[in-house]
């Protein structure tokens, strides 16, 4: 029996925060015009408010190996809990996308924190309310110390922070063919480079218009290497593979072009 299903439209943008979303607190960080930029699989979300601010106690922090995001479960403070939906069961899911991870200081479990991000409904999670993405987190300690509120974790030395990333990408592939990506990550200065093992890699393929079409997360091995295969099931055209590399205190972004040809 053939089913004719009508798909829902992709993520819709609410220009201003609605009554169903917490208000935005200005001052700490700017509101983003397009919060869904750099978000993997953005069509799973319905944006209820482009920018919102909530606070609560962190219950869980984990890096998702599948999509590379930093996920946090938060028990919201009383004023915000009314914005949760039935599917949330009392907890808010928040996520920092890989591009923002180096800039966001992750709170610890049990800490009280304030989250700045986009308030969405996640259709893949039984229509739970979520904050996705989060691009700023401040903890109570940050507020007390003032200067740490906007800086990431303890800044490592300049040498240690330097990350050298080489990415080799198949330049031209037929539709449906494999895009082989080879990554070599090293740390240290030129004279004493060492492989960077267990670095988090996040690949995003974007089309000419800057729209993300494919995402993948991976990790370097003990030799600082990673080999990833993407499948070029895209319409013919020019694309660019972006790679976001991060390891605590270190990060890098590289990109390379790839052309998908008809045959």
């Amino acid at each position: 029996m053939a089913l004719g299903l009508v798909q829902r439209p992709p993520a819709e943008n609410a220009a201003t925060p609605a009554a169903i979303a917490p208000a935005w607190q200005t001052g700490a960080v700017l509101c983003r015009d397009d919060p869904m930029a750099y978000v993997p699989h953005p069509t799973r979300f319905v944006v209820l408010a482009r920018c919102s601010t909530v606070s609560g106690t962190v219950r869980q922090v984990r890096r998702d190996p599948v999509d590379g995001e930093l996920n946090m479960l938060v028990a919201l403070d009383q004023p915000y809990s009314r914005f949760l939906l039935y599917g949330n069961q009392g907890l808010l899911r928040t996520a920092v996308v890989p591009r923002d991870i180096p800039k966001v200081m992750a709170p610890k479990v049990g800490q009280h924190a304030t989250f700045y991000g986009s308030w969405v409904m996640d259709r893949n999670q039984h229509n739970q309310a979520a904050m996705h993405p989060v691009w700023k987190v401040t903890t109570s300690n940050d507020l007390g110390q003032g200067s740490r509120a906007t800086s990431p974790a303890k800044p490592p030395s300049a040498t240690a922070r330097r990350v050298q990333v080489q990415m080799q990408v198949t330049k031209s592939v037929p539709m449906g063919g494999p895009i082989d990506v080879l990554v070599r990550a090293e740390s240290g200065s030129k004279g004493a480079r060492r492989p960077l093992p267990e670095a988090n890699l996040f690949f995003e393929v974007r089309d000419d218009d800057g729209r993300g079409v494919q995402w993948k997360a991976a990790m370097t091995n003990a030799l600082g290497l990673a080999r990833v295969t993407l499948v070029a099931l895209e319409h013919p055209g020019s694309f660019r593979v972006w790679l976001f590399v991060d390891k605590p205190g270190r990060s890098a972004i590289v990109s390379a072009p790839v052309t998908v040809r008809r045959r």
């Binding site: 053939a2 089913l3 009508v6 069509t43 449906g176 099931l233």
Partner: protein, 657 residues
């Protein structure tokens, strides 16, 4: 409610000598006296003796004109339905029905993939039995199955004509037949080997019986109605909706049937339904299983789904014309309108309320819509010159819409590429290989039908899956009533890792090809998961199917049976023995210890390997043994120590950086 029979306009009842004017507010006789069938010439022109006299002078041309016009209409309808039927290969549901028909016709080879039962409890194989007769005569082919559906759809034009002749006039009959013959929605579905054309024919035939019984009072028509209902149920189970139509008609018209007539009608119904009863009795358990699970199927679509489908496939002008027909029927409320109104109300109402929706479900309602629309057109055309002009404008608009949508119906290539992919696999893959493809529950059967390969679905659906060999796998119950994900997350990786599935086929529908800016090739979560599956198991693109120079299907061969290779090792007597799995099949694997090559070997056809080498003289526990295949997939372990005089028993487990 006042129901009027406008015999002088809708149908020439007065000329039969019996007034059928009916007022339901007044008590009615138990049964109207039987009326003989009027001669065709009387039915054609009821209005006046003047008109009849006019016809008498040109009797021969008038007599020839009607059949000639009908023949032309049926010819056009048939041409649209039969022309270039093999342009595009089967889609999933068609393959299922054709496969079942092939099994019924004695092709035992296909029993491995097709069971003689509907997984969705949607039908009792009537269409398949008819197709099987054709298969016995001409052999198994896709065109033949579609030809049977097209034949039923073409015959429906004649039945619609007969209904309109019974209820209205010959002019209305010709217009109704023309509207149905040109209906893009009907043509599109008639060109597919689906059940709907057969169901529609039987529903229309049943309604013809009911109409004839209503007009003639001959009980044979009612028995015929009972038989048609039973056959319609066998074609598709929703044929049972004809019973509420009869009940509704009897209630509204306050007609009562003698017990003898009821008994004989029931007998005709049960006799024709006996194959179903025997089938259910023999396979009651499977039937119950399918019923309980398939009844949970839900389409998450807005309530405007069906209007959107009809407008998209017929054009706004035709839909407006249908709507005008309904409005005229509501205004006039004749007994003929009652029958057609009930027909529409029951079928459209049921499908609008039923949670499972599909583009093909409304087909049984189309004849009723065409009949009402035809009556409205005829009614408008004879009122005044101005309205004739308006009717002409409407006709032009409708005709222009029909041309556009007929073109689309005849050139629908939604599933183009699946047949070609299947045939390529049939010719280029080992006979025992398995294939997996994106599916809403049935697409995999295209590969079973054309390629005779074990085929598996990848997708989210509630239908049971018949595994090759006949084992039935029901969809797992899922929390909160969401569509199960077991054929996305559970079974696909298992089947690939077991080596049951060797080929993965991704295909694009025409919409994703036509509008690349708005609709990328991979957009849904399921499509993304399938693409991940291809990448995870080293899918090697071995063939691309092009249709009109556009890629439509991509065939990948699985090259490894694990996401990442895994190795284990033991050290015994100064010798390292390594076993590995999940390397690229038949690839060369290099074994390197701390930068020095210690062995080169070949993985077997499942990507497994065994190798042994002496513990290196300068072994250090921190040094890695790395096994890398030709596709740069690797696995490694460490922990080797310098060989001792006494054998070092055992080693560490697998460790992959």
């Amino acid at each position: 409610m006042k129901l009027r029979h406008r015999g002088t306009r809708d149908r020439p009842a007065d000329t039969l000598g019996v007034s059928l004017r009916l007022d339901l507010t007044e008590p009615q006789p138990l049964l109207l006296p039987p009326t003989p069938d009027p001669p065709a010439s009387v039915l054609d022109e009821p209005d006046s003796t003047v008109a009849r006299g006019r016809h008498l002078t040109g009797r021969r041309p008038a007599r020839l004109l009607g059949p000639a016009a009908l023949a032309a209409i049926v010819g056009i309808g048939g041409l649209l339905r039969f022309w270039n039927l093999d342009r595009v290969g089967f889609r999933g549901d068609e393959a299922v029905y054709a496969g079942q028909a092939a099994v019924l016709s004695g092709v035992d080879e296909l029993q491995r993939w097709f069971i003689l039962m509907s997984r969705g409890n949607s039908n009792f194989l009537l269409f398949q039995r008819v197709v099987s007769l054709a298969y016995r005569l001409f052999g198994v082919s896709d065109v033949l199955a579609r030809g049977v559906a097209a034949a039923f759809s073409t015959l429906t034009i004649l039945v619609v004509y007969a209904i309109a002749r019974t209820l209205y006039t010959r002019r209305v009959a010709l217009i109704a037949a023309l509207l149905l013959a040109l209906s893009s929605y009907s043509v599109a579905l008639a060109r597919l080997a689906l059940l709907d054309a057969t169901l529609t024919f039987l529903v229309t035939a049943a309604m013809l019986c009911l109409a004839r019984w209503d007009r003639t009072e001959r009980p044979g028509w009612l028995y015929g109605f009972g038989a048609c209902v039973a056959l319609a149920i066998q074609a598709k189970i929703v044929g049972v909706l004809l019973l509420p139509i009869l009940a509704g008609y009897l209630l509204v018209s306050r007609r009562r049937l003698p017990w003898r007539m009821v008994g004989l009608t029931a007998a005709a119904f049960l006799v024709c339904l006996s194959p179903v009863l025997l089938d259910v009795a023999a396979n009651g358990r499977e039937f119950g299983d399918f019923l309980s699970r398939s009844s949970q199927r839900v389409s998450h679509v807005p309530w405007t789904y069906y209007p959107t489908v009809l407008a998209g496939r017929e054009g706004t002008a035709v839909v407006m014309l249908w709507a005008a027909g309904v409005v005229v029927a509501l205004v006039r409320r004749s007994r003929a309108d009652l029958l057609l109104g009930l027909w529409l109300l029951v079928f459209v109402g049921f499908y609008q309320l039923y949670p499972l929706k599909a583009f093909n479900y409304l087909l049984p309602s189309v004849p009723a819509l065409c009949l009402l629309a035809a009556r409205a057109v005829e009614h408008l055309a004879r009122l005044s010159v101005l309205r004739v002009a308006a009717t002409a404008v409407v006709a032009v608009l409708v005709a222009s819409g029909v041309v556009t949508h007929q073109w689309r119906a005849l050139h629908d290539d939604s599933y183009a590429g699946l047949e070609e992919a299947s045939r390529w696999l049939g010719a280029n893959s080992p006979p025992r290989s398995g294939v997996m493809t994106l599916s809403h529950g049935s697409a995999q059967y295209v590969f079973a039908f054309y390629a005779r390969r074990d085929a598996y679905p990848f997708g989210r659906f509630r239908l049971a899956t018949v595994l090759p060999g006949g084992k039935i796998v029901h969809a797992l119950p899922s929390p909160r009533g969401v569509t199960p994900r077991d054929w996305v997350a559970l079974w696909p990786p298992r089947l690939v890792e077991k080596g049951t599935v060797n080929y993965l086929v991704y295909y694009a529908t025409s919409t994703t090809i036509d509008d690349p800016e708005e609709d990328p090739l991979v957009s849904t979560s399921t499509q993304q998961k399938f693409r991940d599956l291809v990448a995870r198991y080293g899918g090697q693109l071995v063939h691309t199917v092009y249709v009109n120079h556009e890629g439509r299907a991509w065939i990948y061969r699985v090259t490894r049976l694990r996401k990442k290779p895994v190795v284990t090792h033991t050290v015994r007597g100064g010798v390292v023995r390594v076993r590995g799995w999940g390397f690229t099949m038949n690839s060369t694997v290099k074994v390197v210890y701390h930068g020095h090559r210690v062995a080169v070997l070949r993985a077997d056809d499942r990507g497994s390997l065994r190798v042994q080498f002496p513990v290196p003289a300068r072994a250090q526990p921190d040094y890695y043994v790395v096994l890398t295949d030709s596709e740069s997939n690797y696995a490694s372990f460490s922990g080797l120590s310098k060989p001792r005089t006494t054998p070092n028993e055992g080693g560490r487990g697998p460790r992959t950086p």
